[in-house]
Assembly symmetry: C2
Homo-oligomer: 249 residues x 2
Amino acid sequence: MHNLLALKLQRFVTLSDDEVEALAQICRQSIRTARARRDIVREGETPQHVKLIVDGWAIRYKMLPDGRRQIVSFLLPGDLCDLNVFLLDTMDHSIGALTPVTYAEMPHDLIDMMCEHRPALSRALWMESLVVAAIQREWTVSLGQRTARERIAHLFCEIFERLETVELAEGDRCEMPLTQIDLGEATGMTAVHVNRTLQELRREGLIVLNNRILTIPDRQALMTVGMFNPTYLHYRNPKCETARTPAME
Amino acid sequence: MHNLLALKLQRFVTLSDDEVEALAQICRQSIRTARARRDIVREGETPQHVKLIVDGWAIRYKMLPDGRRQIVSFLLPGDLCDLNVFLLDTMDHSIGALTPVTYAEMPHDLIDMMCEHRPALSRALWMESLVVAAIQREWTVSLGQRTARERIAHLFCEIFERLETVELAEGDRCEMPLTQIDLGEATGMTAVHVNRTLQELRREGLIVLNNRILTIPDRQALMTVGMFNPTYLHYRNPKCETARTPAME
DNA sequence: CGGCTGCTTGAACTTGTTCAACAGCGGTGG
DNA sequence: CCACCGCTGTTGAACAAGTTCAAGCAGCCG
């Protein structure tokens, strides 16, 4: 397996074969699975491992005391879960599996050691958390300023780009396991309104969505509707032009 | 001056006198000021320094192509600005002064060196960025799920707590230089609606706000309205119980 | 077949927006 | 000293975007 985590981190720093191997090793430690729609970690817990999503989709979410729920981010293959808690101790949100999920558990002390001996990796992980924060800022913009139609368009663009970097999009298509309820909880609107918004986007030929497959016939058009500007994802770090080439595997 | 940055980072790790001194030194490098309502850094730029807000309030904000603007966070004294860009290169958002702002500029290479030689500091800075991300998640929840009244209540609670940790709140009062327009841009609503919401909160005795001074007569009550749970701020790290004691200064 | 989940539709309703006007205040320039 | 300007806050009334409630339908799985 060409290591997913290495694939991601290569976007930020150039890793030696040696470092890639160290990552691969740490990921192999223990592989676990979660059933669809089950929690992986709950708010308030103090997990002992950092998790790497290997397969499937998960979400970070927070609940309000009265039961309202907000999805604050999507975790796609290659994403790390509990880096927060690795440093911060207790979870301030929950993580749930959307689809069946396979993830790797990496013990804190191993990561600790790795960071100590390989500053390049430590730096790459730090960068990874900064990108996560950048994405969160963009969500803030979506929820604060974009209309329903713009939000959905933007979200689809973001997910598509992220899937592309882990080679999970094919041409103009990708998987889209989100229900309209999920989309609602992520975009801060009701499922009913998500439904009508999706219909509008479909009617205009901006998206095709059925059988959990999303097709974006004209990417530029959808990007324009969502006012999507991918710089916040910080891909293609100039320091590592090779990051996206098919060379490594 | 008891160093502001040290004061903040002590929340996460215990720093030796030596390390505190290193921080203080790096902060003294160059002190600059920005006039109120001026930009400090603009989206797309690649600043060469990490900035520490020493005095005054600033904002991170993003603009949409059509001019809509979202404030994505407030930068209060003790907050770092461009840690992102220290690692990520180009700014994906702008930073603007709200009030007159004094800030310290810390050259990248100094921080680099510091991080290399003092892993405790590197770790503390990383933690700091994780807390920033946690705050951003909570904003996502506010914008996605909370009503106007809840959003304002929550925001006031958050700002108040953050000011408290840098000793800028007195009893139940703190400064509140935000205009209703600012509040609107932060909470994703119009200034008009902010106005009516503030009146509602005033009428109920939950806040007193005039002359740019905010008073919260009954903190618990406001927290309940905003469904504010401060754990996401990750204060009082158990590893450093002394962080909030008045001992250091 | 029955029951579940997810999608769709309609109609009434609510929250927050838009537009417009005005008041208060501080600063500036004549 | 006053007139004037721009900014912030306030208010009202019409309006729009998104919600709520309710019902029905399709597909799927046991």
